[in-house]
């Protein structure tokens, strides 16, 4: 036991968090997919086994990424950024559509689908950490800030925006948090925000088909809270689930499997399923897990000797937590339906692996900070 414990690299608390989340997710995915399973001919274990395998893969990825020296990532980020832009363009034009928005691309040969925005998110975070740490002295110069920081972020988000507004907004949010920590002036944020609004308007004017997407979003926002609206079907079920769960949860009582589960009870609405089965206690536990992940990451960031590492950890962890909060917000009815998975919990193939990469990087940083500390002691 001790042997395995020693072999695990990086922050043990973060390992604990992701293992807890993963373990918690397995029964949830099992009950959450029984409707899907019935539709697919009644193999109730199909989805949960697939989920377990993907989780296992995620741990393998996290483990291996945590062994990589994250310093290499700085240079790699330039290449990643160079790949990202054509990748997003390709997705936009040729990606296959789920729910009329092109978000997915298929890797030839392997046959795995992934959302290019997951890739973009990782790339832009690393890139931003690099640029922010390198341009520290020039942060007063608005031109520089615009050119090296805001411009790439806006391009990336702009490319995603058309098909996936919520992801674009989350990436933007994560990047802003990074820039905020990285020392970008509040005044510049204000200017940029104004510019983004302007650009957004321009985009709509340039791409009328983008307007369609926007209208969907506006409609969702408008219909938000209107119980009769068809789009709220899932939401209503989710809220009833939450109510059913009560304070202590139903703990997989016969009731939950059959009554009123939202169709995406194991992905977009997984938080509702958690609340039903584990109750308010489980719901708070989940939030606390993500908060621990975040505060632990801040702690790691503070220990870093290199600014690049600090910003990298902050960017990755805030990205994850923002995503988690947006998923939970949908389930509890604070947001209209967005389609963000709950990191490390939601069933959902490759996006889980991208989450694993992010966590792997954070772990890798923590490993180096703790080892440097160890060296100091030694």
């Amino acid at each position: 036991m001790q042997g395995i414990y020693n072999k695990i690299y990086g922050d043990k608390v973060i390992w604990g968090v992701i293992i807890s989340l993963a373990l918690m997710s397995i029964p949830i995915v099992y009950v959450g997919t029984d409707q899907l399973a019935q539709l697919r001919g009644g193999n109730f274990f199909y989805f949960v086994i697939k989920h377990a395998i993907i989780l296992l893969g995620a741990f393998v990825i996290a483990y291996h990424v945590s062994k990589i020296k994250h310093g290499y990532l700085s240079r790699l980020s330039l290449i990643l950024m160079l790949i990202t832009v054509p990748l997003l363009l390709y997705t936009m034009l040729a990606g296959h559509s789920v729910d009329s928005a092109e978000r997915w691309i298929k890797i030839p040969i392997i046959g795995l689908s992934f959302q290019s925005s997951d890739f973009a998110k990782l790339a832009v975070t690393i890139y931003l950490a690099r640029v922010l740490s390198r341009k520290q002295g020039k942060l007063d110069d608005f031109k520089e800030v615009l050119k090296h920081l805001f411009f790439p972020v806006i391009i990336i988000c702009g490319l995603i925006l058309k098909s996936d507004f919520s992801t674009a907004a989350l990436i933007m949010g994560g990047c802003f948090i990074m820039m905020f920590f990285g020392g970008v002036k509040i005044k510049h944020f204000a200017i940029i925000s104004g510019l983004i609004v302007l650009l957004f308007t321009l985009l709509i004017l340039l791409f009328p088909e983008g307007l369609q997407r926007l209208l969907t979003w506006v409609n969702r926002l408008l219909a938000f809270g209107d119980a009769a609206h068809e789009g709220n079907y899932q939401k209503n079920l989710a809220q009833a689930s939450i109510y059913d769960g009560g304070a202590i949860g139903l703990w997989f009582d016969i009731l939950p499997g059959n009554y009123g589960q939202p169709p995406q009870a194991a992905s977009d609405f997984i938080y509702a399923t958690i609340l039903r089965n584990y109750g308010l206690i489980g719901g708070v536990f989940t939030i606390v897990m993500y908060l621990i992940l975040f505060f632990r990451s801040i702690k790691i960031a503070k220990k870093c000797t290199k600014l690049f590492s600090t910003l990298l950890v902050i960017g990755l962890s805030s990205g994850l937590v923002l995503q988690a909060f947006s998923n939970m917000a949908v389930a509890v009815g604070l947001f209209p339906v967005t389609g963000q998975p709950l990191p490390m919990v939601s069933m959902g193939g490759t996006s889980l692996w991208f989450t694993a990469i992010s966590i792997g990087i954070i772990l890798s940083v923590s490993r180096e900070t703790s080892s440097s500390k160890n060296e100091e002691i030694a």
Binding site: Q38, F180, F181, N236, G260
Partner: protein
């Protein structure tokens, strides 16, 4: 270390804020607004299953059942499990294979059958009567995927009063839009008392809440049945009808087209309301409803037409009683006023000449009323047009106080108004002032533009019986346990005639039956003083309609009625004997004049 140290609290604050918002929201969903969310979600995941209430029965005034409920069976198919030998199955249900295929197509078509699921039983054959169902029950249950749902249908132990009772039918899209109460499987009253008292009769549905899975299969009761309600049965109605009298009247009207309305004068309660030809109300129940309804609706004799409240006909000479009362009341005539029978003025038959007022009623002398009504209009003077117009206006006020020219307000929908001719109408027909008494005299004897419904004719009998007032005629006297008091001032109507004027007219009406030369001499009833008046309603399309209006006994009247028989000639020949037999039936409960009865029943006028 960049701005991390100084700025980290902002982020702590941000995420801390998130945390608090989430906890608040969860608290809100689970504790404060739980009912709201559960309600919203229920429609998605909880099925409300209806339990239909039992519709109220309708009884006659003596507690005999007019309408009750009977068990009927919906044959349901669960398509997923349903596998049969089509030919045998069709033979069992007595349908052909093309009908079978058509029905299955309809069941599976989701645009027609919105809630379709192959796992939920769907109605294949609706409302099979228990006698039909009993014979095939055993064999039916041998088939897989066949189940049965019990429902109730209306049933009529005695096939009488079809128009009055009305029928129920499946609700349509308009009902569903108009009244939130209804769901697509509902039946509602669509004519007669069933329609008028729909809200009283229908009761309230019970609801069961079931949790269902994605396929619509019920798993368990939602919240252990805490939200479930039991149905509240509809109110029973106690009608004013006398089932025996109603049945007898319908029997008398065999082979005739027309109506009989009999009313208890002291209350306005309708004792019988016969529309002829009539039909067996059991025809409009269950599976054969559609075909039977079509057949009845297409019949040339207009079987579904509720003549007693909708047929507007010239009342004929029965209005002479009213004309007499008006003349007495305004003082242009008295008991001994007499006019010669001048047949040049208007046709008449041979009788003693001249006549006093009651004798004019007895003989129904037309020229007498030509003169009498002229006197009413001109107030006994040699008047001009202006006098005629004013005289007619005054006359109209009197006539309208008899409840004529407007629906009386019976508790049925569709009651017609009838027509009281007035100055305005004649101006329209002939041009302003381009008419005179000679043009319009026919209203004096109840012909021409004058029209009444049979119920108004009967009500005229009520007014005569009561010496000047009537209660709104009605068909229901008790709803559930609540008795209806129609003696309320809203239902009490007083005419403009002083009660002292009635005895003179009653004399004449008694003589109609009892004195030699009376127009209804054959209809005298031993031991009962009947006051009546014959009428002959002229009809441009064919033979005259036979009319008789009466009440009996003369002192302390128990029944007032009008009989209207289309194309049956003079009032004395057909309508009067029918009225007399009805009175005998009601007052003596037994008819002894069997020969007269048989003669009447055998008369056919279509």
């Amino acid at each position: 270390m960049a701005k991390l140290e100084s700025r980290k609290y902002h982020i702590y604050l941000l995420f801390g804020f998130f945390f608090i918002v989430y906890i608040c929201r969860l608290f809100y969903v689970q504790i404060i607004e739980k009912e709201f969310f559960v309600d919203r979600a229920k429609t998605d995941a909880v099925d409300k299953v209806v339990e239909f209430p039992v519709r109220g029965n309708i009884y006659d005034r003596n507690g005999k059942v007019l309408v009750q409920n009977e068990i009927a069976y919906d044959v349901m198919l669960t398509m997923k499990d349903f596998k049969v030998d089509t030919l045998k199955f069709c033979a069992l249900l007595k349908i052909d294979t093309s009908e079978f295929k058509l029905r299955l197509k309809k069941i599976k078509n989701k645009s027609i059958n919105k809630g379709y699921s192959s796992r939920i039983p769907q109605v294949f054959e609706s409302l099979m009567k228990s006698e039909d169902f009993g014979g095939i029950k055993e064999r039916l249950f041998n088939y897989k995927g066949v189940s049965v749902k019990k429902r109730t249908v209306r049933s009529y132990p005695r096939p009488i009063a079809a128009h009055v009772l009305g029928h129920v039918s499946k609700v349509g899209p308009r009902d569903l839009n108009r009244d939130q109460f209804y769901i697509p499987q509902d039946y509602r009253g669509s004519s007669g008392l069933e329609l008028f008292y729909e809200k009283e009769l229908r009761g309230a549905k019970g609801w069961h809440h079931y949790l269902k899975n994605r396929h619509g299969k019920y798993i368990s009761k939602y919240l252990n049945g805490a939200l479930d309600t039991t149905p509240r049965p509809g109110n029973n109605l106690k009608s004013t009808l006398d089932a025996d009298l109603q049945e007898y009247g319908e029997m008398l009207m065999t082979g005739k087209i027309g109506a009989i309305v009999a009313i208890e004068p002291s209350t306005g309660e309708i004792l019988a309301m016969i529309n002829a030809p009539t039909y067996d109300p059991n025809l409009l129940v269950g599976g054969e409803y559609g075909a039977n309804y079509q057949r009845l609706a297409k019949d040339k004799k207009k079987i579904l037409f509720p003549r007693s409240i909708q047929s507007r006909q010239p009342p004929g000479s029965i209005v002479k009683t009213m004309q007499s009362l008006i003349s007495l009341n305004i003082g242009v005539a008295n008991e001994y006023t007499s006019f010669g029978c001048n047949k040049k003025l208007v046709g008449c038959h041979d009788h003693r000449n001249p006549l006093t007022l009651p004798e004019a009623i007895q003989h129904s002398c037309n020229p007498y009323y030509y003169n009498l009504v002229k006197k009413i209009f001109f107030k006994g003077r040699n008047g001009n047009m202006a006098q005629l117009r004013k005289g007619m206006d005054d006359w109209e006020k009197y006539v309208r106080s008899f409840g004529l020219g407007n629906p009386l307000g019976v508790d049925l929908y569709g009651e017609k108004d009838g027509n009281v001719p007035d100055v305005k109408e004649y101006d329209q027909i002939y041009g302003k002032n381009r008419w005179n008494y000679r043009t319009i005299y026919s209203l004096s004897i109840g012909q021409g533009e004058f029209s009444l419904t049979p119920i108004q004719m009967a009500n005229l009998g009520v007014i005569l019986a009561n010496k000047g007032y009537y209660y709104t005629p009605h068909l229901i006297r008790q709803i559930g346990d609540e008795k209806l008091f129609f003696s309320d001032s809203n239902f009490y109507h007083k005419t403009l005639i002083d009660s002292s004027n009635f005895e003179i007219v009653h004399n004449g009406m008694q003589w109609v039956l009892e004195r030699p030369g009376g127009t209804a001499g054959r209809s005298k009833l031993e031991g009962v003083t009947i006051c009546g008046k014959t009428g002959t309603s002229q009809n441009p399309h064919g033979d005259d309609h036979s009319v008789f209006m009466a009440f009996a006994p003369r002192h302390n009247p128990q029944i007032a009625l009008a009989v209207f028989v289309e194309n049956a000639g003079g009032g004395g020949g057909t309508a009067a004997p029918i009225a007399s037999l009805m009175i005998e039936k009601y007052l003596k409960r037994k008819v002894e004049r069997l020969k007269l009865e048989q003669e009447i029943v055998e008369k056919v006028f279509y």
